[in-house]
C-alpha cells in the first residue's frame, strides 16, 4: 500500500512537471515577456531589453523554466505585473471563496444525485424513471451558463427570490456563509453540472447492486425495504461515486470559471478570466498548473479512498 502510494506520487510529480513545461512553453510563445505591461506599450527597445535582462527574461527558455520551477517548489508563483501583486497573495485571497462555492456545489450535487439514482433504479422503467432520465439528458446537454441564465431570469428577475449577481459587499467566506441567498444561484448552477452524470452512474450502480445476492438475502430475512435500500444498498452503490468525484475536478474547475463569470463572484475563476483578457502571464500559468495539480490529486485521492472504502479493491 505504502509503496503503491509512493509510486503514484512519483508519477504525479512527473505529470505535474510535464504539464508545467507544456503550459510554460505555450504561454511563453503567446507572451514572451511582461516588459511592455510594466514599461508601457510604447516602450523603447533598449528599455525593454534592459528590463528583460534585469528580471531574467533574456535567458534561454529552459533556464527560465528551471528557475520558475525552483520558485514553484517554494510556493512562489511569480508576480502579476497587471495587478501589481504576487500571484500567491491573489490566490490566497480568492481560493477560499472558490473552494466554498465549488465544495458546496459538489456536496449539493451528491445530495441530489445519490437518492435520485437509487430512486430511479428501484422504480426502473416507470414514468418517473423515464422523466428523470430525460431531464438528466437535457441537463447534460446544456451549457452551465445557459442554465444559470434561466435561473437568473425566473428566480432573480421574475420572482425576486435571489439576487441576480453576487453583491460586491460579499467578500469573505464568512460573509458568503451568513448571506446564503447571495450564493444560492451560483451554487445551484454549478451543482447542476454534475447532477446529470452523477445520478446516471448512481442509477446503473444501484441497478447492478439490486440484482446481487446480498440484497436478496437482506429481503429474505425480512428487513424493511427502507433498511434494505438505505443501509445495505446505499453504501455499496455509492462506491463508484468515489472514483467519479475524483474524476469530476476538471469539470468543476471549468464550471467554477463560468459560474463566477456569470454571477460576478470574486474567486479564482474570475481572476483567471480577468487574466485571460489582459494576458496576465503568471496568473494564467499558475492557475493552469494549479488546475492540473488538483486534477492529479483528485485521481490519486479517489484511488486511495476506494481501497479504504472497498476491501475488494487491491492496489499494487
Amino acid at each position: 500500500m505504502i509503496s503503491y502510494i509512493i509510486r503514484r506520487l512519483v508519477v504525479a510529480v512527473v505529470v505535474v512537471l510535464g504539464v508545467s513545461a507544456i503550459i510554460f512553453i505555450l504561454l511563453h510563445w503567446l507572451a514572451p515577456t511582461p516588459a511592455f505591461d510594466v514599461l508601457g506599450a510604447k516602450a523603447q527597445p533598449q528599455a525593454v531589453a534592459s528590463w528583460n535582462k534585469l528580471h531574467g527574461y533574456d535567458r534561454p527558455e529552459i533556464a527560465q523554466f528551471l528557475s520558475y520551477l525552483g520558485n514553484l517548489v517554494q510556493l512562489n508563483f511569480g508576480y502579476s505585473y497587471k495587478l501589481s501583486q504576487s500571484v500567491s497573495a491573489l490566490f490566497s485571497e480568492n481560493a477560499g471563496r472558490s473552494a466554498y462555492l465549488t465544495g458546496a456545489a459538489l456536496l449539493l450535487s451528491l445530495i441530489i444525485a445519490i437518492p435520485l439514482g437509487i430512486m430511479q433504479a428501484v422504480r426502473r422503467n416507470t414514468v418517473g424513471d423515464y422523466t428523470v432520465t430525460t431531464l438528466n439528458f437535457v441537463l447534460y446537454s446544456m451549457p452551465s451558463f445557459f442554465l444559470g441564465l434561466i435561473l437568473i431570469q425566473f428566480l432573480a428577475l421574475d420572482l425576486h427570490v435571489f439576487p441576480p449577481t453576487v453583491s460586491d459587499s460579499v467578500t469573505t467566506v464568512w460573509q458568503t456563509f451568513i448571506h446564503p441567498a447571495q450564493l444560492t444561484l451560483p451554487i445551484v448552477t454549478l451543482a447542476a453540472i454534475n447532477v446529470a452524470s452523477f445520478s446516471r452512474y448512481m442509477r446503473s450502480s444501484a441497478l447492478d447492486n439490486l440484482a446481487q445476492d446480498y440484497i436478496r438475502l437482506a429481503r429474505a430475512k425480512g428487513l424493511s425495504e427502507r433498511s434494505v435500500l438505505f443501509s445495505h444498498l446505499l453504501r455499496n452503490a455509492c462506491l463508484p461515486m468515489i472514483t467519479l468525484i475524483g474524476l469530476s475536478i476538471p469539470t468543476l474547475l471549468a464550471g467554477n470559471l463560468l459560474t463566477e463569470y456569470l454571477f460576478n463572484f470574486p474567486g479564482l475563476g474570475l481572476l483567471f478570466y480577468t487574466a485571460l483578457g489582459n494576458l496576465d502571464y503568471n496568473v494564467l500559468l499558475a492557475y493552469v498548473i494549479l488546475g492540473a495539480i488538483l486534477t492529479v490529486i483528485g485521481n490519486l485521492m479517489a484511488d486511495i479512498a476506494i481501497t479504504f472504502a472497498d476491501p475488494r479493491v487491491r492496489l499494487g
Binding site: 508519477v11 512527473v14 505529470v15 505535474v16 510535464g18 504539464v19 507544456i22 503550459i23 505555450l26 504561454l27 503567446l30 439528458f137 437535457v138 447534460y140 446537454s141 446544456m142 451549457p143 451558463f145 445557459f146 441564465l149 434561466i150 437568473i152 431570469q153 428577475l157 441576480p164 476538471p250 474547475l253 471549468a254 470559471l257 463560468l258 463569470y261 456569470l262 483567471f272 478570466y273 485571460l276 483578457g277 494576458l279 494564467l284 492557475y287 493552469v288 488546475g291 492540473a292 486534477t295 492529479v296
Partner: protein
C-alpha cells in the same frame, strides 16, 4: 431485420395449417454482417432516429436557410438595434441591428463546422496515436500513453482558453485548437480496443491461416475497433459544440461579424436584465437541442454496436 436465430421449434406451422418439418439442425440463416445488424439496431431506436432527424434539420436550416431567407449579417445597423420580434424580423434584432433569426443560422453554421472539423481532427489523431501505441507495445506504448496522461491532467477548457486569447477568431483556428486538445480520450479507447483485439481468437485464427500483418490490421483490427471510434465521434462533436459555446460566451470566440451561438450569448446576462428574451432563449434552445440530439445519436450508436445489448 433478418432473423438471426433459427426457430427453436422443430416444425413451422404454415398459414394453411400444415406442419412442415424443418431441416435437421435448423433453417439456414441469412448471414448478416455486424455492421448491418448495428445499422438496423440503430434505426429501431426511435430516439436515435429523432436525434438524427434533428441534426439533419439543423444542417439544412443553417446552411440552406440563409439562401432562402437572406439577411444582412455584415453591416452594423444602429437604427435597428434590439427590435422585438415581429414584422420583418421573425426573432427581432440584436444589439448591432442584425436579424436574430438569420444570425442563429450563421452561428449554427460555425457550431456545426467547428463541431465536425474538430471531432474529425481529434478522431484521426487519437486513432493513429492509440493504434500505434497499442500495436507497438512495450516502451513506446509506455511513453506514448504517459504523454496522454500528462495532457489529460490539464483541464481542457483552461488550455483552450489560454490559446484562444491569441489564436482564435476563425472557424479553422478554433477547430484546430479544440481538435488538438481533445484527441486524448479516443486515443485511450483505440489503444484499449487494439490491445484486447490483438489477443482475440479470430485474430489468432487469421494469423494461423497465413494472413500477413497488413491484412490483420486492415481487415480485422481496424474494422473491429471502428465501432468504438464512430461512437466516440458523436460525443466529440457534442463536446466540441459545448466547448465552443463556452469560449464564445467568455468572449474569445469568432471574429466579429462572424459568430457562433456562444458568441451570441456573450452578452446574454445583460439581455436578460433588459428583458430582450429573443436574444437568449432561441439561441440557447438551439444549442441545447443540437447537443442533445448529438448525444442521443451517440448513445444509440453505442448500444447498437454493443453486442451484449443486442436483441436477438
Amino acid at each position: 431485420m433478418a432473423e438471426p436465430i433459427a426457430p427453436l421449434i422443430e416444425g413451422l406451422i404454415e398459414p394453411g395449417g400444415y406442419v412442415m418439418a424443418g431441416p435437421e439442425g435448423g433453417e439456414v440463416q441469412v448471414i448478416s454482417s455486424g455492421w448491418k445488424l448495428a445499422v438496423s439496431e440503430f434505426f429501431d431506436n426511435k430516439l436515435a432516429v429523432a436525434g438524427l432527424v434533428v441534426i439533419i434539420a439543423f444542417i439544412l436550416f443553417c446552411f440552406l436557410g440563409p439562401l432562402i431567407d437572406p439577411t444582412n449579417q455584415t453591416l452594423v445597423n444602429p437604427l435597428n438595434t434590439d427590435l422585438a420580434p415581429g414584422g420583418a424580423h421573425l426573432l427581432g434584432t440584436d444589439e448591432h441591428g442584425f436579424d436574430e433569426f438569420g444570425r442563429i443560422m450563421l452561428g449554427g453554421q460555425s457550431a456545426l463546422e467547428i463541431g465536425f472539423f474538430s471531432a474529425a481532427i481529434a478522431t484521426v489523431l487519437g486513432t493513429l496515436w492509440g493504434a500505434i501505441a497499442g500495436l507497438a507495445s512495450g516502451i513506446v506504448d509506455g511513453i506514448m500513453m504517459r504523454i496522454v496522461d500528462i495532457l489529460l491532467s490539464i483541464p481542457l477548457l483552461f488550455v483552450v482558453l489560454v490559446l484562444a486569447t491569441k489564436y482564435s477568431g476563425t472557424v479553422i483556428r478554433l477547430s484546430l485548437l479544440i481538435g488538438l486538445f481533445s484527441w486524448l480520450i479516443p486515443s485511450r479507447l483505440v489503444r484499449g480496443e487494439v490491445l484486447t483485439l490483438r489477443e482475440r481468437d479470430f485474430v489468432s485464427a487469421a494469423r494461423v491461416m497465413g494472413a500477413n500483418r497488413r491484412r490483420i490490421v486492415l481487415r480485422h483490427l481496424i474494422p473491429n475497433a471502428m465501432s468504438v471510434v464512430i461512437v466516440n465521434v458523436t460525443f466529440q462533436v457534442a463536446d466540441a459544440i459545448l466547448i465552443l459555446a463556452y469560449i464564445g460566451f467568455l468572449g474569445f470566440g469568432l471574429q466579429f461579424p462572424a459568430t457562433s451561438w456562444g458568441d451570441m450569448l456573450g452578452g446574454a446576462q445583460n439581455y436578460v436584465t433588459e428583458g430582450y428574451w429573443w436574444l437568449v432563449y432561441p439561441v440557447g434552445g438551439c444549442l441545447v437541442v443540437l447537443v442533445l440530439a448529438t448525444n442521443l445519436v451517440g448513445d444509440a450508436l453505442r448500444d447498437a454496436f454493443d453486442v451484449r445489448l443486442r436483441r436477438r
